[in-house]
């Protein structure tokens, strides 16, 4: 362009972008909105736990052990050490959500980076990266999480580390698969024919088109991560007593099922509700994104 060009005077008509369309469709889906409210509610509850919970979750009393639901002052009963169940459940949301969401969050970034790189560069790099990922895929996720946790030892950090390692391979795989598909489409070819660097092409053309499916897949993994994380605590790995965490609470209350069965079942109910909410949220997101914008 030798002569300097001037842009059109006055505003151009701007169409709403892709994500705006997704948001609109999502808002119209009642189930998805309900799930969103539930998830936000749970997160809020976790963040505001010290202010929302009626009692101290650590305060034990041997006199008040295993009271049933509806006991005055202890709305959802007490656990095997006399601690208020309601407060422990509310506080438990913090660790349970943390252990559930964080590994997927980290794995999303690491896995996407690995997968997109492998998918775009292709060739030997792709083969090496994906075969290494395949080795981890050779383990059923529960087994791998337990193997790593078992070897590393109990503790929150070890639990987070194991779970992150468990979730990186599936995300990397999806990322590689979607990137490889997008790479073959003509607009990427056209971008390559423009002389742009690989990095620029990935940033402008590839990323926007692959992030969506990967993100939806990752949100679908959150419920699995929640169940797995609580499962680790249930087995004695992961969170250690006296911290309130739903899976750990199920563990310590196991023998109480003969005395106060419904109190003992409460933590699991929380895991269940949270897991269903995240699943419905993920499904709603997928529906909102599936149709062409």
């Amino acid at each position: 362009m030798s002569a300097p060009a001037t842009a059109v005077s006055g505003a151009i008509e701007k169409s709403p972008g892709y994500w705006a369309g997704v948001g609109r469709r999502f808002r119209r889906d009642p189930v998805a909105m309900l799930a969103l409210c539930l998830v936000l509610g749970l997160i809020l509850m976790a963040l505001l736990a010290p202010w929302v919970a009626p009692a101290d979750p650590y305060r034990a009393s041997m006199l008040r052990r295993l009271r049933p639901i509806g006991t005055p002052g202890f709305l959802l009963g007490t656990d095997e050490l006399g601690r208020d169940m309601l407060s422990r459940l509310i506080h438990g949301a913090r660790l349970s959500l943390l252990m559930g969401v964080t590994p997927v969050f980290i794995a999303f970034f690491v896995g996407s980076a690995i997968g997109i790189t492998a998918g775009y560069i292709g060739g030997t790099v792709n083969t090496v990266l994906m075969r290494t990922i395949d080795v981890f895929f050779a383990f059923p996720s529960v087994l791998l999480a337990i193997a790593l946790s078992g070897a590393l030892g109990a503790g929150i950090f070890n639990g987070l580390l194991s779970l992150t390692v468990v979730f990186i391979p599936p995300i990397a795989r999806i990322a590689e698969s979607v990137t490889t598909a997008v790479r073959k489409i003509e607009y990427v070819e056209a971008a390559r024919a423009s002389g742009a660097s690989a990095f620029t092409i990935v940033r402008v053309h590839v990323l926007g088109n692959v992030i969506g499916p990967i993100f939806v897949y990752a949100t679908g993994l959150i419920s699995v991560s929640l169940i797995l994380a609580s499962g680790l605590s249930f087995l004695g790995l992961g969170v250690k007593p006296p911290e309130p965490e739903w899976g750990l609470m199920l563990n310590t209350l196991r023998n109480a099922i003969y005395v106060q069965p419904w109190v003992a079942a409460l933590p699991g109910l929380m895991i269940f509700i949270t897991s269903v909410s995240f699943n419905l949220l993920s499904d709603g997101l997928r529906s909102a994104m599936d149709l062409k914008a």
């Binding site: 001037t6 151009i12 003509e186 742009a196 053309h205 914008a293």
Partner: protein, 343 residues
């Protein structure tokens, strides 16, 4: 975007010169995924394109037209052969980056050619920005190009691909190619997917742009009528090789190569008195993995002779007709029983 007359500025000789271009795709198979054979997509083709002309390329599917196009913009690396632009050799006197600024391509699938997440102005502005232009200038350039291809910037610059029709998208693709101020634009089946009426509009646009900007086109299509309308010269490809190349009117009215003849005879005519009585071309094109020996067309040729299976004919310039044909019949003294007979 210069509008100076072409003749005064350019050196003599062809603008684009292709020599011996070859691309074989490896076939994976076997136990360890090793090579099982090659697909000889393009096998040593050579041709020139003069500045300001439109060269049409025709042929059946799988003849190597699209591969040739991609080789010319380095989307695929050739195994052998030279590409020269304005006398400068790609890879030696000229970098790939330089060439990409001068040779641009428009693809067949108008929807897949555009990033669904980018607005039209962003899509067009991407190229200039990559080449160093500021965002503001690039967007302004994009608006001007939209105007040039007949899409009002106020209405179209902020839109997404799915909101445009096929014809409109293809105009955007053309604008995008022009954003580089290229000398050569390769149109790979660019209008094939459009409705006929829209196709006519886009073709007219292409002709106008060519005249205004002094462009050189390479027009690839399987539609012989459109090629005749658009091209100055035409090249017929068969199974990765050039069968015939010459001025379009001369070639269409008097083709030398039996394949060109069959191809042109296969064009249905609007004249009810000129009905086709038998299929001019028998059978399916043979496999590019294992092409026939000698002249690749000899297995389907009605005028085949012994020499055809033994020896591959090179392109031979027929002085009287002005086109080059790769056929033993055209080469006097080749050993073919009809050799040297102009028909």
């Amino acid at each position: 975007m210069s509008t100076t007359p072409v003749a005064s500025a350019s050196p003599p000789g062809p603008l684009l010169s292709i020599t011996g271009l070859t691309k074989h795709f490896p076939l994976k198979g076997g136990l360890l995924g090793g090579r099982k054979g090659v697909v000889r997509a393009v096998d040593g083709i050579s041709f020139d394109v003069a500045e300001g002309e439109t060269l049409g390329i025709v042929g059946e599917s799988g003849c190597g037209k699209s591969t040739t196009a991609r080789l010319m913009v380095d989307l695929i690396r050739p195994d052998a052969g030279d590409i020269r632009l304005g006398g400068r050799r790609l890879g030696h006197d000229m970098s790939v980056r330089d060439m990409r600024r001068q040779v641009q391509m428009v693809f067949q699938d108008s929807y897949a050619s555009l990033n669904p997440r980018l607005t039209m102005e962003d899509a067009i502005a991407f190229g200039p920005m990559v080449n160093g232009m500021s965002e503001q200038a690039a967007v302004a350039c994009a608006h001007e190009l939209l105007h040039k291809v007949g899409l009002e910037p106020r209405r179209f610059a902020g839109r997404y691909p799915h909101e445009l029709s096929g014809g409109q998208r293809q105009r955007v693709n053309i604008a995008r190619a022009l954003a580089f101020s290229p000398k050569v634009v390769i149109l790979d089946e660019a209008v094939s997917a459009l409705d006929k009426s829209v196709e006519a509009q886009v073709l007219n646009l292409l002709c106008d742009l060519k005249a205004e900007l002094g462009l050189t086109y390479i027009f690839i299509s399987h539609d012989l009528n459109v090629v005749r309308y658009m091209s100055d010269r035409v090249m017929v490809m068969y199974l990765g090789e050039v069968a015939e190349i010459g001025p379009v009117d001369a070639l269409y009215s008097n083709p030398s190569h039996p394949y060109s003849r069959a191809l042109l005879a296969a064009m249905p005519s609007m004249d009810p008195d000129r009905r086709t009585h038998e299929a001019p071309l028998q059978g399916d094109p043979p496999n590019p993995i294992n092409p026939p020996s000698g002249c690749r067309f000899h297995t389907r040729c009605k005028l085949v002779d012994d020499v055809c299976s033994r020896q591959s004919p090179g392109l031979y310039l027929q002085e009287q007709k002005g086109h080059l044909a790769a056929c033993h019949i055209a080469i006097p003294g080749s050993g073919h029983k009809h050799a040297g007979q102009a028909s």
